[in-house]
């Protein structure tokens, strides 16, 4: 296999500074490759330096001392005594004493440098009940031991799939318990694609933002609305996007939305020098007091630092103003191609506020961990108009174990993955009348409710 991998080889190799995803079995972790930095993953610690220059997707084993070594893939089938197996478990007594090796023995074997698969072989050889187990039970036993003692890790390129599964498995609270299949729905229902202009409001650690950016491929623009001090982007960084992707990303604070809608948002350049001159005055006064040359030097130094900091602050403020202006320019046209909301905030006001920035005939998707807030959104939208094809949904997800004669759904299943409200915007005029005309409630029910409300009026 001497031929080199032609397809964008450089892109396919692990480098320092890259964000990668470590995988061991079904467990994932996102880390950045740094020089001689200790990484802890699945109760093991190691350094990633030996991985640099290798291709993504490479499997490694962890040597004593924490360095990575390329894993040579030999398909391991443990040797079992002449395929001896039992028919069923009627005589197998689980007294916890069938394994002759103690925990200390196994530690010793590990210290002797025995590889994972060799340890598994030892465990089989020292189990009194192994030969009595059924073939299926033997396979299950081997699989379980392999999972525990074979400590290979694979280094992968980040993707929405891996990061969404990682967050949902490790820290669901950080992403409002958004399950990966629900995220899949958001991206597809929202018609997220290259070249569009999407508004995102999320408090999912940046995972939703990152997945939207991945689907846009660096084309178009994403405006991230943020609630407080600044936008959260940690999860987005884990995607390891090339730098030009960041140029498509804008941010806009929610607290300025009303001003923008009213047309009163102040984007003019401000003179920040007033604060600096005050400090200068107080400094000037104290200058009168001491004439000591050392003191003089230190004061001059402090003065210089103060000016430097003031200058940096000025530059930062200007940058911030420019960013605000560019985001405002994108929003002002009220022609965004889509809206994605996934946060711990009550979705109703967020949705009603941000929908104003979306063009007609464009999709929007709102995620909420709970159902009732979305029912409120639905009701409000029906009253107000401007949206059609409203749907409140959630998805049911089930994994299967597929093995010969042992195929069945997996025993534990996800209880829920959150709820979505999706719809399409339309031109707002007369939409209200349209919605009453095309009410989804059956006629009989509507008449009854009308009767109730009219009798209220008459008795007032």
């Amino acid at each position: 296999m001497a031929e080199c991998v032609n397809d964008s080889d450089a892109e396919g190799r692990i480098s320092y500074g890259d964000y990668v995803v470590l995988k061991r079995g079904d467990v994932f972790k996102s880390v950045q490759v740094e020089n001689k930095k200790k990484v802890v993953f699945e109760k093991q610690w190691f350094f990633l330096d030996n991985a640099v220059g290798q291709l993504y997707g490479t499997r490694f084993e962890i040597e004593a001392g924490g360095s990575l070594k390329l894993k040579i893939t030999i398909l391991f089938s443990p040797v079992t005594d002449s395929k001896e197996a039992g028919q069923d478990n009627r005589h197998i007594v689980d007294d916890g004493r069938s394994q002759k090796l103690s925990r200390d023995d196994i530690e010793t074997l590990k210290e002797q440098g025995l590889k994972g698969q060799e340890i598994v072989q030892q465990l089989i050889d020292n189990s009194t009940t192994f030969k009595d187990k059924t073939e299926f039970a033997q396979e299950k036993y081997i699989k379980k031991k392999k999972k525990k003692y074979e400590s290979d890790i694979t280094i992968l390129k980040p993707s929405t799939r891996l990061l969404a599964m990682m967050y949902h498995g490790r820290e669901p609270g950080k992403i409002c318990h958004l399950r990966y299949d629900t995220l899949a729905q958001i991206l597809t229902l929202g018609n997220i694609h290259a070249g569009s202009k999407i508004i995102v409001f999320e408090t999912c650690a940046g995972l939703v933002l990152g997945s939207v950016m991945e689907r846009m491929g660096g084309y178009g623009s994403v405006i991230q609305m943020y609630p407080g001090g600044g936008p959260t982007r940690a999860g987005m960084e884990s995607f390891g996007f090339p730098s030009h992707f960041h140029e498509t990303l804008h941010e806009f604070p929610l607290c300025k939305v009303n001003a923008l809608l009213a047309g009163t948002l102040d984007l003019s350049e401000k003179d920040e020098t007033s604060g600096v001159s005050e400090e200068k005055n107080s400094e000037h006064q104290s200058m009168e007091v001491s004439v000591d040359p050392q003191e003089e030097m230190r004061r001059a130094e402090r003065e210089r630092l103060r000016e430097q900091r003031a200058q940096e602050k000025k530059v930062k403020m200007e940058e911030k103003r420019k960013k605000l202006a560019s985001a405002a320019a994108l929003l002002e046209g009220r022609n965004a191609d889509g809206l994605v909301i996934a946060s711990r905030f009550h979705p109703c006001p967020v949705l009603m506020g941000l929908l104003k920035f979306v063009a007609p005939s464009r999709p929007f998707v709102v995620y909420c961990q709970y159902r009732e807030p979305l029912i409120e959104c639905y009701t409000k939208l029906r009253e107000q108009g401007g949206a059609i094809s409203l749907r409140l949904t959630d998805s049911w997800l089930r994994h299967y174990q597929v093995l010969p004669n042992r195929t069945h759904p997996v025993l534990l299943m996800s209880g829920g993955g959150g709820y979505l409200l999706s719809g399409t915007t339309v031109a707002a005029d007369a939409a209200k009348a349209r919605n009453q005309h095309k009410s989804e409630e059956p006629v009989a029910k509507r008449l009854k409710l009308d009767k109730i409300s009219s009798s209220c009026d008459s008795s007032a």
Partner: protein, 305 residues
């Protein structure tokens, strides 16, 4: 208009979606001088559509109105003419995520069928990716090619008319992802593997029957695929309703508990002066029936060579 790029104004030759009301839509091809009949009257393309903004309300001849929508793969999926059973948005969304599709991805697909998934893939991989789709039925392959042209996406797709199990995808070592929706996917695994890039890739097979899934998983294992995972996903719709629930009459009681007390016990607002009082609940209920099965999705990773 195109299925991979938004535009603002309707033009001649566009495919647009007419929204008539709840769960009622139809696709039409905009042509100068043409007319379309709807239950609300006639839509005249030249005056009512061409030059109008997508999302506008259009008044038809009988006085009723409709909305004109920009096509999307999701709208297309529920409105396209079926030549075969199709994949719906719920499965499509998961396939897209699990195959890690994005702009620039190269995808191999078989069978093309009615093009439901194809349109969604094209939208996701545009503008720099490519879809190689194989359909063994000559007329369906032809119809698919026609539609891709009309929808202005043919530069992103190559349709081939042959049997993928015998002749593969027509290319090798170029795909980031392979999708199979055929009767015997296990027969196409070798070809799928060779179509995928050497650095690895993702595979998905969609099968309605568990027996097909079992044979496919076995074949995947034999060919060295990893991370083999089978799942199914179903969408549950919640119909939002405002319901009125009557309160019972337990007869008069000492210390008179009146109906407003009962209503507040239930935690809802009372509807006054209706004799037998009721409370209003804003809730959502499931539909009477729902799609219980579409197919099993089996995913796998082809590892680095």
């Amino acid at each position: 208009m195109s299925f991979v790029e938004y535009s603002e104004i309707i033009q001649e030759g566009d495919v647009v979606i007419i929204f008539l009301g709840h769960e009622s839509m139809m696709p039409i091809k905009v042509q100068s001088g043409a007319q379309t009949q709807t239950r609300y009257g006639v839509i005249r393309h030249s005056s009512d559509l061409i030059g109008q903004r997508f999302g506008s309300k259009v008044t038809c001849s009988k006085g009723g109105w409709v909305y004109v929508l920009h096509p999307t793969p999701e709208l297309w999926t529920v409105n396209l003419p079926h030549r075969t059973q199709i994949l719906y948005t719920t499965d499509i969304a998961n396939i897209t995520l699990m195959l890690e599709l994005k702009p620039g991805s190269v995808v191999c697909e078989s069978g093309t069928g009615s093009g439901s998934l194809s349109h969604s893939i094209l939208r996701t991989i545009a503008p720099t990716g490519h879809l190689h789709t194989v359909e063994f039925h000559a007329q369906r392959a032809e119809k698919a090619m026609q539609e891709f042209k009309e929808h202005k996406v043919s530069h992103l797709v190559t349709v081939r008319n042959h049997d993928v199990c015998k002749d593969g995808f027509g290319t090798t070592a170029i795909a980031d992802a392979v999708f199979l929706d055929i009767p015997s996917p296990w027969e196409a695994i070798t070809h799928a593997k060779s179509a995928m890039k050497r650095k690895g890739g993702r595979l998905c097979s969609f099968s309605p029957c568990i027996e097909q899934v079992q044979r496919t998983c076995e074949a995947l294992l034999d060919h060295g695929f990893e991370e083999i995972c089978t799942l199914e996903v179903l969408l549950r719709v919640h119909d939002v309703r405002t319901v009125s629930l009557p309160l019972p009459d337990f007869g008069p009681e000492e210390g008179s508990v009146d109906s407003s007390q009962m209503a507040s016990d239930v935690g809802q607002e009372e509807v006054p002066n209706t004799g037998n009082t009721s409370v209003i609940c804003r809730t959502a209920k499931p539909p009477r029936e729902m799609a219980g099965h579409t197919g099993y999705l089996t995913f796998a990773t082809k590892p680095l060579n």
